[in-house]
């Protein structure tokens, strides 16, 4: 299995500000993934983060709103920029090992 640590675990932020979420994995992986889980809804993939290249965003998500960094094979950050209450969600990072994906505990973000 894999161990994925996310920081912060939760935060309450003012609208218009930005929050950077950190994700640390316990082994080197090529791909890391960022998901959003809006209240009462399922998980939606935001983007795939490969080390050494720009992240690949899913439809409906853009780099200006969700910039991602992937400086090495065990770490990634997701920034939620210029936040609004609609960004209140749980954000999860994930890595895949073989044919299985592992998820962090998530960052619960509330925008007020």
């Amino acid at each position: 299995s894999a161990v994925i640590s996310q920081k912060p675990s939760r935060d309450i932020c003012q609208r218009g500000t930005s929050l950077t979420i950190q994700c640390q994995v316990d082994s080197q992986v090529t791909m890391m993934f960022w998901y959003r889980q809006q209240p009462g809804q399922s998980l939606t993939l935001i983007a795939t983060a490969n080390q050494g290249s720009e992240a690949t965003y899913e439809s409906g998500f853009v780099i200006d709103k969700f910039p991602i960094s992937r400086p090495n094979l065990t770490f990634s950050t997701l920034t939620v920029s210029n936040m609004s209450p609609e960004d209140s969600s749980i954000y999860l990072c994930s890595e895949s090992v073989g044919t299985e994906a592992f998820f962090g505990q998530g960052t619960r973000l509330t925008v007020v």
Partner: protein, 115 residues
């Protein structure tokens, strides 16, 4: 494109009775399929996975699922529900077996277990 449809948003069963959570998938490739469980305020836990081997897959906690290509289904079952099974269950498809890339989640099914 890959997608999954979970046919029931809520399922309620009595303790000791069978559980059936339904999932249909759409995939352009040979899919890998998974069931994850999320207990309240907990992280996601893998229950079981199908990756083109045996079509009947056994997972943890007595759960199993059968891959039926002709029906594009991957329903989750358990013979006898336990109170601790109350959680939300997600059916998930990925876009390949050996080129595993990213997951697409169903909308989730909340399982309620009555005493």
């Amino acid at each position: 494109a890959q997608s999954v449809t979970q046919l029931d948003s809520h399922v309620s069963v009595s303790e000791g009775t069978p559980v059936l959570l339904r999932c249909n998938y759409s995939s352009s490739y040979s899919p890998s399929l998974f069931w994850y469980v999320q207990h309240p305020n907990k992280g996601l836990q893998l229950l079981l996975k199908y990756t083109s081997a045996a079509t009947l897959v056994k997972g943890i906690n007595g759960f199993e699922a059968e891959f039926k290509k002709s029906e594009t289904s991957f329903h989750l079952t358990k013979p006898s529900a336990h109170m601790s099974d109350a959680a939300e269950y997600f059916c998930v498809v990925s876009d390949g077996v050996y080129n595993f890339n990213k997951f697409y989640f169903g909308s989730g099914t909340k399982l309620n277990v009555k005493p």
